[in-house]
Every structure is written in structure tokens, then in C-alpha cells.
Symmetry: C2
Subunit: 384 residues, 2 copies
């Protein structure tokens, strides 16, 4: 909670929950990433928070952008990024969207299979872009152990297949540029990059044996935001990654990219919400207390799914005794419960109408919110 | 799939996934509910699909409306419903929203605890509405066994507490009107209403002993839409409910209300989507196939959460051999996987670019879709 956010909320008069994001925190985060990984280009993961003010700040600071769709590419361009600072990082792309990205000047694309490479080749020919100008990196699978929002096998292929995918790109005339992986979102283990970099270096060697010189490793995201548990500093990630790079690549350390999203904007945002109801399910005073907020799983807190992300929550009663509560959202959907399996401790003096501050909500909140579920509007957002 | 939807899709030229809803199917459904439960008032659950054309059709047919928020009340009024045909059915309401509802003429409110009753009393006084004109019904907990989208304990209280809640309303001068419950969404067991009605009749008796004459039972929703498994006809639900009412209330059958949402609009809608990518995670041909669509969990198919709802999916290759596939959405979110634990059988001949028709998607799709996750726009919808 920054003084600037506190001041903004003091003066706010509008009704309903809102997210307030402090640009100064994002600026600090960017500088930390840039200093802790000095030879690495930062590609901010736009999906984490695509607010125009966030993107323009990062563009000014020199950040590059990892995008998931043509709309996100357009947002990055509108924020002042040149196309050479934009990566189309989604491995799942319509061919016509690749064509559109090429027309917009983007030349860096993620793939994880041969048919995706072929889409890029065809789009390149259709756009009359020299194929050798189009850089393709292949995502490999990574186990994601230690991540609080672990990844499925949805993206990436096994490293052996990545060699074939990159060779396919090379033979078609595209530039086989490198490897990417993702160690899992909200990754609190700084050692997680080691195993993935070992695999990446094997792919580099195998490609070199086939006459293909890869030059880039995209280290992905995974950098955590501070929620309830403590997290290592960005410097610790920088050191661990540098060590792992040295260990696996020796004197031939490749170009590197990171894609922080949560780690860049998560701690910059606070959601202000309101207690709508406090009740019990029976007259028994020992029965657990239910606390209902005016924001829930469909209003922006989707990452509470399976109770994965536990946000720090503050109220004006923080110094009072706390009791276990089930925390739920305002909709008529019974799945709209935030914390139940592991109840959340909230002040016994909490009352209906009290404001509740949900910290660490700068990432993956506004854009997850439903367009109008139960008639509730999407989460309002202010970047200050 | 109706001929009208087929014709509409044949002529559609726009890009991206869309939902098409056939008004004629909704009309048929409404008539079935009205005939199968002739003494019951139908309150359509607006949250299932609040498209203006859907609401105006149902308003014309004589339906009442179950609403979850002031926005939904305004939608129902705009569609032509008079306020006496609107229930504010959310048990979690801000006091200022109750006040606004009263100002709009709504007089029927759900509660599940005493503090919610007190909000209604204060709002009634503030709105200068005679308290005796405000009807309050108390929701009781129900086990939801047999439902495919079972309810948590989020809404309702134990029946013993409901007696106190209703007495509290009565003493404050409000009209203690009745009991509601919900047997669980997509409830395929027609016998599920029996246990809840037994509890309701006990509350009626206990209230009568305290001098309070309840008169209404809100039987809730739960009526299923046809997905992959077969479902009983609406008539079977009508018969089972009538039998249970007779069994528990004898000659004093109360007024009744039903709140179908999914059962009213689910089978009226089809989502047309497109295959964006088909791939494997390794070069092994026996490795499971991944099929990625241009719609996923954040684009409208939120009810695939935990693989709860399994939609029927059709393609032009339906007569071909089918193989197990993992079905996923287009976003860079690893949680955006529709069916994986239990893979979905799709034609071996399915190709990138093929259209895919997802049936039974008229309910709980458009409004669940994220406002802009990964830059993807919310689900487009057409009511024909």
C-alpha cells in the first residue's frame, strides 16, 4: 500500500470495487529487473495488465512486450513500442493473426509444433516479408514444480521434438532463433530455471550438430508478486539464473529474454472492495462465519480458483482478534467462493459496509473480470 | 441445432467465435414449463442469459424474472416486465441496492439471515414503502446431490434458522412470505425436490405455530439442459414436484415459483468456434492430440471448470473415427483447458481452420466471458 494509493482512495467517491495501480511501483520493479538481469531484455507480459498507462510507462522505460493476440500487439504499438520490441508469444495463433502481426511489423514468434511453423511461413509469404527476417523460438515443456499457479502441459513440446521443430523452421527459410520455457507462474524457487536451462543447452547443441545456430533463450515469466508468503528478491533470481546460464552454456551464454508479468505489476495494485454481508448458516455461534465481498471470482479475482493465490487482505480492524471466515463473492453463483477449503482469518470486529483492501492485485485481475456476470460491471481500474 | 441457426451461420461472415440463440426454442421451453407446472409462476433466472431479445420474448410470453442485481432488474423492466413480476433473488445485497430495487417497484426479496432482513426493513423505511408490502422469502440449505454443477453452502441457512429469520421479518413488519431452496444446477434427478419440500413444510408448520402464515415455496432452478447425457422431460419434473408438494403439504399446497435458467435457454444456443491448432507434445504418434479452439474457459466456457459441464461438440467430420483429444482454449493461460482429465473424442480427420459447433451453450456463456483476457474480445451473441 503506497501513500499515493491511500490518498487516491481517500478522495474516491464512486461506488463499487476498483483496482488502483501505482506507476511508481512499476517503475521500481522495471529498474530492479533491468539491474538484476543486466544482459537480458525485458518483455513485459501484456496480459498481466494491459492498461494503456502501464504500457506507455514501460515503453518509455525501454521495456519490450510479450503479447498474446493482435489486440495486445496493437496496444503495445499504441503505447509507443516499436514492432522490433514486440514478441507474439502465444503458441496458439490463427494464420490470419500471424499475417496481421507481420503486417504490423512484428518479427518474433513463439511456436511449439511444426504446423505452427508452417502457418508462419505461409503468412510470411503472403505478407511478402523475407522469411529470414522472421525469428522463431520453440517453447519446451517444463515441470513447473514449486510454482503456486503451476502450468499444465498446454504449451511447449518435449526438448527432442523442439529440435525437429526448429530444424523445420530453418529448412523453410525462417530464422530458427532459440528456445523458450516457463517455470510456472508465481515461482518462489529461484533454482527452477536450472533444469530448464539444462534442457535448453541440449537443444542448442543438437541444433548446432545439424548446422543450426540458435542464439536466444527466452527465460519466460514466473517471477512472483508478494502475497501472503515471503518471496526472494529479484536480485536472487538474477543471480540464480546467471549461475545456471554459466553452468549450462559456459562461455557461450546466449541472448536472453525474460517475460515478467505478475512480477512487474502484481505488487503495484490494490483492490478496494466492500463487505456486503456477514452471516452464519445456523444460529450456532460456533458455526463458521461467511463474509461476502462486492468482488469475487467473476469480478477480477479469478486467480483464487482452487484457492491458488491467497491475497493479503487489510481492513481498518487489522489490530483486532481474527477468526476463520469463508470469503465469497457477490454473485448468485455457488462457485463464486474465494477461500473456503483453507478459511481466511479476518477481524472479529469486521462489519457490513467496511472497506477491504486486497493487496497484490495489479496483475491478472481487470482482464479476467467477466463482462457482465449477474449484471455486475467489470472491475474499474485507475492507474495513478 | 435448428434450421434457423444453421441458416444464420451459413450467412455469417464475421471473424471469431459467436453464440447464436434461437428464440423459437426458448418459446417452446417456456410453454413446456408453463404446462408442466400449471399452478407455478415461472421466474426466469436472468443471469443465465440476459440478452434483451431473450428477456423481451419471455416478458411477452408472461414470464416473471429472478434477478441478481439492480442492473438485471433494470434489464427486466426494459424488456417490458412490470415490477410485480420481478424477484430480487440474490441473498447478498448492498442496502443501497435494495433501496434502488424498492424505488424501481420491486417487492419480492430473498434472504438467508437476520441482518439481510434488517437491511430490507431500513431500505423500506428509507423508500417510504409500507413494510407489509415487502415480501421476504428465506432460502434454506439443500444438499444438491445428483447435480452436475452442485451448489456449495454459499446460499441459504439451516431450516431451523430460517424459522427465526422469517419471524424476525414478521416482527419488523415485513411480510414473511415463504421459503426457497435450490436443488443444484443441472439436476438430473427429478426426486431431488422431495427432501427440500419436506424441510420447507416443517418450516411452514413451525412458523404457523408462531402465528406466521407463510404462503409461498420458491422451488428454485436446477432444471437441466441437454448436454451429452440424456435428461428427463420437463413433464417428469412437473409430476415429481407435484407429488412431493402433495405428500408434504397435503391439501394446503402453497403458491409456488420456479426459477429456470439453464433449462429455459441452454438448449436454445449454439457456439460456433474454429480450430486454431492441432498438435502433439512429442513426435510420438501415440501421444495424445491437443486441439485448441478460439474459445475457452475465459471466452465463455467457464462452466467447463473442473470439467463439470461437458458440451456436445459437432464438426463436419462427425461420421469419421474419433480419437481422444485434450481440448483447450486460445489464451496464454495454462488453466484455459476445457477437457483433459477425461479427454474428449473428436474426429481423427479434424483440421486446423475447421468450424466446431458447441451445443447447449445458450446459458451461462456470454456473461461469464472475460472482458478482454489476453486481448480477446467477449463472446459475440446473436438472438434470432
Amino acid at each position: 500500500m503506497t501513500e499515493r494509493i491511500r490518498e487516491f482512495l481517500r478522495n474516491r467517491r464512486e461506488d463499487g470495487p476498483c483496482l488502483v495501480v501505482d506507476r511508481e511501483v512499476i517503475q521500481d520493479n522495471y529498474i530492479k529487473f533491468a539491474r538484476s538481469l543486466p544482459d537480458t531484455r525485458v518483455f513485459y507480459a501484456v496480459k498481466a495488465n494491459p492498461a494503456p498507462e502501464v504500457l506507455s510507462l514501460l515503453a518509455e522505460l525501454g521495456s519490450c512486450f510479450d503479447t498474446a493476440s493482435v489486440v495486445e500487439i496493437e496496444l503495445a504499438l499504441a503505447a509507443g513500442a516499436t514492432p522490433d520490441r514486440i514478441s507474439f508469444g502465444n503458441t496458439i495463433k490463427k494464420e490470419r493473426d500471424i499475417l496481421r502481426a507481420l503486417e504490423l511489423g512484428v518479427r518474433l514468434f513463439a511456436v511449439d509444433c511444426e504446423v505452427e511453423v508452417e502457418k508462419i511461413e505461409r503468412a510470411g509469404l503472403a505478407a511478402s516479408v523475407p522469411l529470414a527476417d522472421i525469428q522463431v523460438f520453440c517453447r519446451i515443456l517444463c515441470d513447473g514444480a514449486g510454482a503456486e499457479w503451476p502450468l499444465s502441459r498446454k504449451f511447449g513440446c518435449v526438448p527432442e521434438m523442439a529440435i525437429d521443430v526448429l530444424e523445420h523452421a530453418h529448412r523453410l527459410g525462417l530464422r530458427a532463433y532459440g528456445i523458450s520455457f516457463h517455470v510456472g507462474s508465481q515461482q518462489r524457487n529461484t533454482g527452477s530455471w536450472d533444469g530448464a536451462l539444462a534442457s535448453a543447452s541440449q537443444v542448442f547443441k543438437a541444433c548446432a550438430e545439424r548446422g543450426i545456430a540458435l542464439s536466444m533463450v527466452n527465460l519466460g515469466g514466473g517471477f512472483p508478486a508478494k502475497y501472503l508468503k515471503s518471496i526472494p528478491a529479484v536480485e536472487a533470481y538474477g543471480n540464480a539464473i546467471f549461475e545456471a546460464l554459466s553452468k549450462h552454456f559456459g562461455n557461450h551464454i546466449p541472448e536472453t529474454i525474460i517475460e515478467p508479468g505478475r512480477g512487474m505489476v502484481g505488487n503495484a495494485g490494490i483492490i478496494e472492495s466492500e463487505v456486503v454481508l456477514i452471516s452464519r448458516k445456523s444460529a450456532d455461534e460456533d458455526d463458521i462465519r461467511w463474509v461476502y465481498l462486492d468482488i469475487g471470482k467473476f469480478g477480477g479475482l479469478a486467480e483464487t480458483m482452487d484457492e491458488a493465490i491467497r491475497y493479503p487482505i487489510h481492513t481498518k480492524h487489522d489490530s483486532d482478534r481474527k477468526i476463520p471466515c469463508i470469503l465469497a463473492g457477490p454473485t448468485c453463483d455457488s462457485a463464486d467462493v474465494l477461500y473456503e477449503k483453507e478459511p481466511y482469518f479476518l477481524p472479529v470486529s469486521l462489519e457490513i459496509g467496511d472497506k477491504v483492501l486486497i493487496e497484490g492485485t495489479g496483475a491478472y485481475t481487470t482482464t479476467y473480470s467477466a463482462v457482465a456476470f449477474n449484471g455486475f460491471p467489470p472491475l474499474k481500474s485507475y492507474v495513478i
